[in-house]
């Protein structure tokens, strides 16, 4: 019977299955960071259990780390204790690799995994972080887990799971100039909603997806969770293989050839059955801007903020009204009339080299609008930062009035000092526009890196297709 990519990944990792379909799934790669792991290590110690296979673990500190003044260390004592607790746990239990705070290869866990070749096709990848779906770009079965599951994977190398349903999101046609993977993701969520993917593993396919770089595919899979799907994935092709060749933890020599032969099979068979197929036309997707407090509250940049009075569903209408009040917006106003106070280019969604290049192209030779209080670029990792500096992107940003920061999660979730003040409005390349996500009372508009850059220069949202 023809199988989907997800079917293949699932079947190749089932250790045992209970009569009700609940299975034990073997985990190949366990990514660990400081926020969701301390209680798991503590639980392991309290139960006098040993980790099953610490050479599956790749760890880093990213959520709490500052993006300025690294010579001063971590000033907040509670954040510092959490990072030091990870240091202590890794030194006690070991790991395949650890990129601690201040290491030149440190960075956002979902940026460094692929960058190091620690994410390989065919793997099961977990992490106590919902954006683990990112790694599905490499034809992995990758998803976020909670802390109890982190402990379970440490102790048993397995996860208790039920198989999800198969969804295919097919994006055909070519994307317009200035339209990116981020816009595909937001347009999809606008169409199916933030619960549209609940219960499904999403495979992204179609010519527009095959045309994306690995960075773009990571952006797309990263946002699968915002569509409600724990896992998103893309089939292996030349782009996947070329990206991985020569990476630190990728196989070499004869083993590389053997691996590549297997990886080439990691695609859905012709005529494989999907429970649901969603189609988008790549050429019709416009640059997207979220207007509300859920990623599904999204409009194209040439659109207008919706009017709750036209919404017939009562729960939805009340949600829209609440979002408009929180966001300080009026119904029917044009997206391009929304002015911004801050700009954040970064996060596990959009902080890779291609993202920084796209933003730099927009800001080159221009300057951040005087009404914008802060525009910052936070590279996804130390190595992304080095590469960008080698290309002179840091100078382009600095000359345009952006702050060029150290890597980390930063203002995507504002666990460190980078945050919005109450009422401040931000053009952000991150993934969640929830109330208070970027700081209590802060207002987030999710956009692509080029759109964030364009907004920084104009002081309000602009259509990057015409701005060029």
């Amino acid at each position: 019977m023809p199988q989907t990519l997800y079917d293949k990944l699932w079947d190749s990792h089932v250790v045992r299955t209970e009569p009700d379909g609940t299975a034990l799934i073997y985990i190949d790669r366990h990514l660990v960071h400081e926020v969701t792991s301390p209680q798991a290590f503590e639980g392991l110690k309290l139960a006098h259990r040993k980790p099953w296979r610490m050479d599956s673990v790749v760890a880093t500190a990213d959520h709490n780390t500052p993006t300025t003044d690294w010579d001063k260390g971590i000033e907040d004592p509670i954040s510092r204790l959490q990072v030091e607790t990870l240091d202590a746990n890794i030194s006690e239990f070991g790991a395949k690799a650890y990129f601690p705070f201040l290491d030149r290869r440190q960075g956002i866990v979902h940026v460094i995994g692929p960058e190091q070749g620690a994410t390989l096709p065919g793997m099961t990848v977990v992490c106590g972080d919902s954006h683990t779906s990112t790694h599905g770009a490499f034809a992995c079965l990758a998803h976020g887990i909670g802390t109890s599951e982190v402990e379970h994977v440490l102790a048993t190398q397995c996860l208790v799971q039920k198989k999800m349903k198969n969804m295919l999101v097919e994006v055909d046609g070519s994307l317009g100039r200035g339209v990116t993977a981020k816009d595909i993701a937001l347009a999809l969520i606008g169409q199916i909603g933030t619960a549209g993917g609940t219960g499904y593993a999403i495979e992204f396919g179609g010519s527009a997806v095959r045309g994306l770089s690995m960075e773009g595919r990571m952006t797309l899979c990263n946002m699968a969770i915002e569509a409600g799907a724990r896992a998103g994935m893309v089939a292996v092709d030349d782009a996947t293989i070329n990206y991985l060749k020569g990476r630190t933890f990728a196989p070499e020599g004869a083993m590389w050839d053997q691996a590549v032969r297997y990886w080439r099979t990691l695609r859905s068979d012709d005529n494989a059955a999907f429970d649901l197929v969603v189609r988008l036309s790549g050429s019709e997707i416009k640059p997207q801007v979220t207007w509300g407090t859920s990623p599904e509250m999204v409009i194209p940049v040439d659109g207008r903020v919706p009017d709750p009075e036209k919404e017939r569903d009562e729960v939805r209408r009340e949600g829209m009204e609440r979002a408009l009040v929180y966001m300080g917006l009026e119904p029917n106003m044009a997206a391009s009339d929304i002015t911004i106070d801050k700009v954040f280019i970064g996060s596990c969604t959009n902080s890779r080299i291609e993202d920084l290049r796209a933003a730099a192209e927009v800001v080159k030779g221009k300057h951040v609008a005087p009404t914008v209080r802060l525009a910052m670029v936070v590279p996804g990792s130390g190595l992304v930062k080095e590469q960008a500096e080698k290309e002179g992107l840091d100078r382009i940003f600095s000359e345009a009035g952006f702050e060029w920061r150290q890597p980390g999660c930063s203002m995507c979730l504002a666990m460190n000092n980078d945050r919005l003040e109450p009422g401040e409005r931000c053009a952000s390349t991150s993934n969640r526009n929830f109330e208070g996500r970027q700081g209590a009372g802060g207002r987030t508009h999710l956009v692509s890196p080029a759109m964030a850059a364009g907004a920084a220069i104009a002081g309000h949202f602009v259509d990057v297709r015409s701005a060029r």
Binding site: S12, H13, V15, D20, T22, L24, Y26, V35, T36, P38, Q39, A47, R49, W52, I78, S79, L81, Q82, T85, L120, G122, M123, G128, D129, S130, H143, G144, G146, T147, S148, E149, E151, H152, A155, T156, Q157, K162, T194, A195, T198, I225, G228, R230, M255, W256, Q258, A259, S294, E296, V315, R316, E318, G319, M415, R432, F434, E435, G436, R437, A440
Partner: protein, 213 residues
Amino acid sequence: MEKFTRLEGLVAPLDRANVDTDAIIPKQFLKSIKRSGFGVNLFDAWRFLDHGEPGMELASRQPNPDFVLNQPRYKGASILLARKNFGCGSSREHAPWALGDYGFKAMIAPSYGEIFYNNSLKNGLLPIVLTEVEVDSLFHDVEAFPGFRLVIDLEQQTVSTMDGSKVFRFQIDPSRKHSLVHGLDEIGTTLQHADEIRAFEDKHKSRQPWLFS
């Protein structure tokens, strides 16, 4: 994990869709390296008028009188009635920890964020799925009748009103139900299959040796 069999409790309604885990427990409280003590900051940004930071005394905070859980009629509630996609967003298990620590033992909603759903079950917090129509009728009841209570019977898989006038059945995976009813330690259960895991690992290694190099 504590056993869950039957629960009779006061119901509190949270009438909004897509309540995310950032709202359930804001990020500044995730810096803790403990599992306990999150209840005082449950729904912090909605529950209080002042901005909360770790370590603040509950007595010094300014409760938001308009937030539903601050209304005296819902004090002591153990069942949270919610709308679709409750617990979407981040994988933080601090969300069910906060709900449990506050005093909730079960939730009723038309759907949940998947990671949150799993995390809740691992902590003995029962996430019940009913249809939108059933959830709607319960929102109506809880609004109409102060002191509205429900009985949850996990073994029978039912939610009923005290007078038995409404009985709703709900679905749950048999293995998850078994773990909850018996309060099982899931890691201990999995480790009973350690030989099978080792056998799988050997086979996996021979097929994809690069995963182990």
